[in-house]
């Protein structure tokens, strides 16, 4: 995932609550480089995106 602010690549393992800030499962991925809160797709949307990616790969 690319940060929407600084454009740097956020490592895949930087997951939800990566900032360790609130533990609120806020569906944000905080960029480790600039702190910007990037939206992290929920389960349903992620499933849809994965299906789309699979379709693209085929």
């Amino acid at each position: 995932m690319t940060c929407g602010f600084c454009g740097k690549e956020i490592p895949a393992k930087v997951g939800l609550n990566s900032c360790g800030g609130c533990g609120s499962r806020c569906r944000k991925i905080h960029c480790p480089y600039c702190g910007y809160a990037n939206p992290a797709p929920g389960k349903l949307l992620k499933r849809f995106l994965l299906a789309e990616e699979k379709k693209d790969d085929c």
């Binding site: 454009g7 740097k8 393992k13 569906r27 905080h30 600039c34 702190g35």
Partner: protein, 650 residues
């Protein structure tokens, strides 16, 4: 190349997505293993290959942006450089972004690494009109440079020749600006041990407060460290404000020097449109009009007129008013005749009539349109340019361009933005940003409702905007004078401006809408229950009676009190209450303006207050709460008197 009993090591480094893994696969074929780097969860691929009849071990490191690590991946990549001591280090860069990536090459040379620069993706760069004189670049840098299109194996042969013919580490690079160079040399000369990155690069990392490097130096220097510590402390203290900025600027300068005669953008006089647009966005003379256009079309027209006007009118005025509400209210009235239960479900403050209707029919279309514009701008890369544009102005109010992140996010949701203030460098900046977010930054739903309401009276909208900007700047300016501390320095790499991708924008918008809706719906329902309980017990009447004189002092009707009480639960809840008042024809243009100003400045909602308490502590949060409340009513009162006195908006 040094002789070893084990095969010599080739290590691949570079930014993410520059084709490192492709090169790794091309070099190693199928002889690879992927495993976690010891003690971490970061995967590192290793393999073997034969070049010119000689066996090599090849390691592919995780993406890194500089030798100063921020993520675990970067930490592992640097650790590999420190511990593996590569015989050849392939620095892979994307030719299209060579200016942004070459500073790391300079760092690697500075760190005495045996670097070969691989300029990958040359074909696409050439398609963009870029031309390279790679022998000249090699001469300037003093290291071998190979051009490549690795996905087509183009340049592989040259790279293999460069690897087999590689002889030694690069020559020393050119120096930085005088005073900075003097500090680096002073510190480097004190480092006596043999460091894998060399004394110079180690000294720079020490100055940049790299904890791992400091621990290493402490261990390596042993009894000599107490002599180094005061010098290091002095340098760090004297350069506390601008060291990283200076180093970045020096590396940029050196990068430009290295690229002189080695890189050309065709039609340099006629820069690509995106490059020109990028410069316009950051130049105050063109950037401010561009910002006004973005605000006018993005916020006023799309969010205000379309989202809060057309969409809300349709959802609330047509769908809910004519079809859904009568059906739901009729249904509950049929199934129960218990008064308190009916009130709880479909009464004045009922779960359906207030909680769900506000969330679905009023707030959702507004935040949906807002997040669409927000995600679109975000995907173009406009925000970092906005940060550079407002940096000078923000310095006057004790902030820097970095504060654009929480301020811009605040227009989405102030609670989350308050949390993001932790990324600001000084405590002073964090307090000022928290105060300004609580005071003068309306969240998306509040902003949308207010824009929608005031759009009917353009004069009222202008007054509201002027008051908000004035309060933001004045309170920021005064805070910067009252709170002790130095002005922060802001510098960032500007990513390329790009065309927004429909899929990205859609995913970001839907994600934000889902997240927002799931957050507000329970709060709206809880607020409805509290208000219902207040109504049933008579407490709400007492609160309304208590607040009514205050609201009347602002020149507003007593009914507006409810909107202020709603606003305490959530800012957007309060704005929706204002929408109801306006729909009932209870507000004149002056009253509407005063109510909008006061409600925007009014106390942060419960969630924001809790976040403020968590981030800034109870004392500061209570101070901000009281200050904001008093200021909101004072400004509202003063504005009402002024508007009545001058006859503006009459």
């Amino acid at each position: 190349m040094t002789s070893h009993s084990s095969p010599p090591k080739i290590v691949l480094v570079g930014n993410p997505n520059v084709g490192k893994s492709v090169l790794f696969n091309v070099l190693t074929g199928s002889y690879t293993t992927v495993s976690n780097y010891p003690g971490t969860s970061v995967e590192v691929a290793s393999g073997r290959c034969r070049i010119g009849g000689r066996a090599y071990e090849v390691l592919d490191t995780p993406g890194m942006y500089s030798l100063m690590p921020i993520t675990e991946e970067e930490r592992v990549a640097r650790k590999i450089l420190l511990t593996e001591r590569p015989d050849v280090l392939l620095h892979v860069v994307d030719a299209r972004n060579i200016e942004r990536m070459l500073p790391m090459t300079l760092q690697l040379i500075e760190a005495r690494q045996p670097v070969i620069l691989v300029v990958n993706i040359l074909d696409e760069a050439e398609r963009l009109g870029m031309t390279f004189d790679l022998p000249r670049l090699a001469q300037n840098l003093g290291i071998p440079v190979v051009g490549a299109v690795m996905k087509r194996r183009q340049g592989l042969e040259e790279l293999q020749q460069a690897i087999t013919g590689f002889t030694s580490a690069p020559r020393a690079l050119e120096v930085y600006a005088n005073d900075l160079e003097a500090d680096i040399r002073r510190l480097a000369e004190m480092l006596k041990a043999d460091y894998p990155l060399g004394a110079r690069a180690t000294a720079i990392l020490l100055m940049q407060r790299d904890q791992e490097v400091e621990t290493l130096v402490r261990a390596e220097e042993g009894e000599g460290f107490p002599l180094i510590a005061p010098v290091l402390h002095d340098i760090k203290f004297n350069r506390r404000a601008d060291l990283n900025l200076l180093i970045s600027l020096e590396r940029k300068r050196l990068t430009r020097k290295m690229l002189e005669g080695a890189f050309q953008q065709r039609d340099a006089d006629h820069l690509m449109f995106s490059e020109r647009l990028s410069r316009w966005a950051m130049n105050p003379f063109s950037g401010v009009p561009l910002l006004v256009l973005v605000l006018y079309f993005g916020l006023y027209q799309f969010v205000g007129n379309f989202g809060a006007g057309t969409l809300v009118d349709f959802l609330e005025g047509v769908l809910f008013e004519n079809y859904i509400n009568p059906a739901v209210v009729g249904f509950f009235n049929r199934i129960t005749d218990i008064y308190w239960l009916r009130e709880l479900l479909v009464g004045e403050y009922g779960l359906w009539t207030l909680g769900i209707r506000y969330a679905v029919a009023l707030i959702l279309p507004i935040v949906g349109t807002f997040f669409l514009v927000f995600s679109l701008l975000e995907d173009t890369g406009y925000f970092p340019r906005l940060a550079m544009l407002v940096d000078r102005l923000f310095k006057q109010i004790g902030l820097s361009g970095r504060a654009v992140i929480p301020i811009v996010l605040g227009f989405g949701c102030d609670t989350m933005a308050t949390m993001v203030t932790r990324t600001l460098e000084s405590a002073r900046e964090r307090i000022i940003a928290t105060l300004l977010l609580a005071l003068a930054i309306p969240c998306s739903a509040q902003l949308g409702v207010i824009l929608g309401l005031l759009a009917v009276y353009p004069g009222a909208l202008v007054v509201w905007m002027l008051v908000m900007v004035a309060v933001f700047l004045l309170i920021g300016y005064l805070s910067a004078r009252v709170l002790p501390g130095e002005n922060p320095v802001f510098y960032m790499e500007i990513p390329p401006l790009r065309l927004p991708q429909a899929r990205n924008v859609l995913v970001k918008t839907l994600t934000r809408m889902q997240s927002y809706f799931l957050e507000i719906l329970p709060l709206f329902l809880v607020a409805s229950v509290i208000l219902w309980a207040g109504k049933m017990s008579g407490i709400l009447d007492l609160v309304v009676k208590g607040m009514t004189p205050l609201v009347r002092a602002l020149g507003l009707p007593g009914e507006a009190t409810a909107a202020f009480i709603f606003g305490f639960f959530r800012r957007d809840f309060g704005a929706a209450g204002l929408y109801d008042l306006q729909n009932r024809g209870l507000l004149s243009p002056v009253q509407l303006t005063v109510a909008a100003v006061t409600l925007t400045l009014f106390v942060p909602c419960i969630a924001q207050f809790l976040m403020m308490k968590k981030e800034r502590g109870l004392r500061t949060s209570l101070g901000i709460f009281v200050f904001v409340s008093v200021l909101a009513f004072s400004v509202g009162w003063g504005l009402n008197r002024l508007l009545l006195l001058t006859g503006v908006l009459a």
